[in-house]
């Protein structure tokens, strides 16, 4: 699965890191600047939890091409 964190939309609520610290990390101000990245099957559920937790809906997912 491919995750895309839109840095323009992220407002630093930190919910992604809070529910899925194994996938998401934040910068020193608490914002997610990870952009697009691939996650393996073992972290798929965690990545989806982080996506669903984002109140700004800054995170999207696509199946790996």
């Amino acid at each position: 699965m491919r995750i895309d964190v839109n840095g323009e939309v992220c407002m630093g609520h930190a919910m992604c890191m809070s529910v899925a610290p194994e996938v998401y990390e934040l910068d020193e101000f608490g914002y997610n600047r990870m952009g697009a990245f691939a996650v393996g099957d073992d972290r798929r559920d965690a990545a989806t939890r982080g996506l669903l937790a984002c109140p700004e809906q800054a995170i999207t997912a696509e199946p790996e091409a």
């Binding site: 407002m11 630093g12 609520h13 930190a14 890191m17 809070s18 529910v19 934040l26 020193e28 101000f29 608490g30 914002y31 939890r49 669903l52 937790a53 984002c54 109140p55 700004e56 809906q57």
Partner: protein
């Protein structure tokens, strides 16, 4: 003035549905019922009160307004005069920064706040102070068998955390937290309300004194490490922070930190008294707190609404809005929106996902949210652990008066089986 803006809206204009609703909910009324009634009947409405203004209540529409800072301005302008831009009508309060700024002016101030209140700072530094002050305040009441969960606990704990961190001396804390509680909690014009206004004026003077003091310490090569000390040594776009703007930031931090989380703490403690099964579930299964914190904040949001000014013609929920019009978006109503949340009127401790907007959305989202979550959890968890059999007397509960901004209980007297102190006397004394 543009004549088209002054034309009285017609009652049958579907694009401007009229309401008699005033978001200043009268004393004693239930804000949830009032906001719910409006949301179900007229989700985007034009109120005839306060010179006419839009009210937006659905989760989807409130989110649109809060996220679009280019169309919905938070800055003071010719429509807000000297009053606070994010209340309607604008309250006669001095500028709060960065809440009352739009980009680009907003950005450097927001960056400073985001750094001061980043999740890792809260986890590594402020979390320990939260636990200390929760223990300390519970020690003060635990042997008595009775207390007021707002005046003796939620309000002073929130005050101690915020004011110690900002840099006020302990002798100021109670006076400041009581003033901010009473100014929103007591009826307009009442004696406690007037006393609170006098204390807020006194606080304005204290802020000026402390910032001047920080400036002198900085000049003498001894910069203070608290927030006020950091503010005076900060740069704004390459120039030193002015005293005026440092004071405006301190006003925002005090206002945002002192009587907000405490309202949700008190609401949650009343709720948990009425739901012993949930009290037990949280004690038995601490990981449940992760979702429970968000759910309590959704179900009992402290802040009811914020105002903006429409600065470009736009449309919300099918209603065309014109530049220059004022708009109130209710975060609380959005949190209670049945279209967004199943069983919206219940507390579902493991609710997920939970995209509530109690902290706001977009660039102006609450900068203290990470601290608020820790403060909420530590305080509520300590109460249900240390005085688990606390009893709330429904007849003595009092709601906030004329609720336009903060919602909750102004006073929550309880009785309980006395317990034991946790901190030694030495630690208690040194803490103050």
């Amino acid at each position: 003035m543009d004549q088209t803006n002054t034309a009285a809206p017609r009652r049958d204009d579907p694009a401007r549905p009229l309401t008699e609703f005033d978001h200043h909910i009268p004393d004693g009324a239930d804000p949830e019922a009032a906001w719910g009634g409006l949301r179900r009947e007229t989700p985007v409405a034009w109120s005839s009160h306060h010179g006419g203004y839009w009210i937006v209540t659905r989760h989807q529409d409130v989110s649109q307004v809060l996220k679009d800072h280019r169309t919905f301005s938070s800055a003071r302008n010719e429509h807000t005069g000297d009053g606070m831009s994010v209340s309607h009508p604008p309250k006669p309060l001095k500028l709060g920064v960065p809440e009352e700024l739009d980009p680009p002016e907003f950005l450097p101030y927001k960056r400073i706040l985001a750094g001061l209140l980043a999740p890792h700072i809260v986890a590594d530094e402020l979390g320990a102070r939260v636990r200390h002050w929760v223990d300390w305040h519970l020690d003060e009441i635990v042997e008595r068998g009775e207390c007021d969960l707002v005046y003796d606990l939620a309000s002073p704990v929130s005050g101690a955390i915020a004011l110690e961190w900002i840099g006020f001396p302990p002798e100021d804390w109670r006076r400041i937290s009581k003033a901010f509680h009473d100014v929103v909690g007591s009826p307009h014009g009442s004696e406690p309300w007037q006393a609170a206004l006098r204390d807020i004026e006194w606080l304005d003077g204290r802020i000026t004194e402390e910032i001047a003091l920080c400036r002198r310490e900085l000049a003498a090569g001894r910069p203070r490490r608290d927030v006020m000390g950091q503010l005076v040594s900060a740069d704004i776009d390459g120039a030193p922070m002015t005293d005026e703007m440092a004071e405006a930031m301190v006003r925002l931090l005090v206002g945002g930190g002192v009587d907000t989380t405490s309202a949700t703490i008190a609401s949650a403690l009343v709720h948990l008294y009425r739901h012993p099964d949930q009290r037990q579930a949280l004690r038995d299964d601490p990981p449940l707190w992760g979702t429970a914190v968000e759910e309590f904040i959704r179900r009992y949001p402290p802040i009811l609404a914020h105002a903006r000014t429409v600065v470009a013609d736009t449309e919300v929920g099918g209603c065309p809005m014109r530049a220059g019009e004022r708009i109130v978006a209710s975060e609380a109503s959005a949190c209670w929106d049945e279209e967004q949340f199943d069983r919206a009127d219940e507390v579902v401790l493991d609710r997920f996902p939970n995209r509530h907007v109690a902290f706001g959305l977009g660039i102006h989202r609450c900068p203290g949210m990470h601290l608020a979550r820790v403060l909420f959890r530590e305080t509520v968890a300590a109460v249900i652990e240390r005085i688990p059999d606390y009893r709330v007397d429904d007849r003595t509960l009092r709601r906030y008066a004329t609720q336009s901004t903060v919602s909750g209980w102004v006073s929550v007297p309880v009785t309980f089986t006395p317990g034991r102190r946790l901190l030694g006397d030495r630690q208690t004394r040194s803490a103050t």
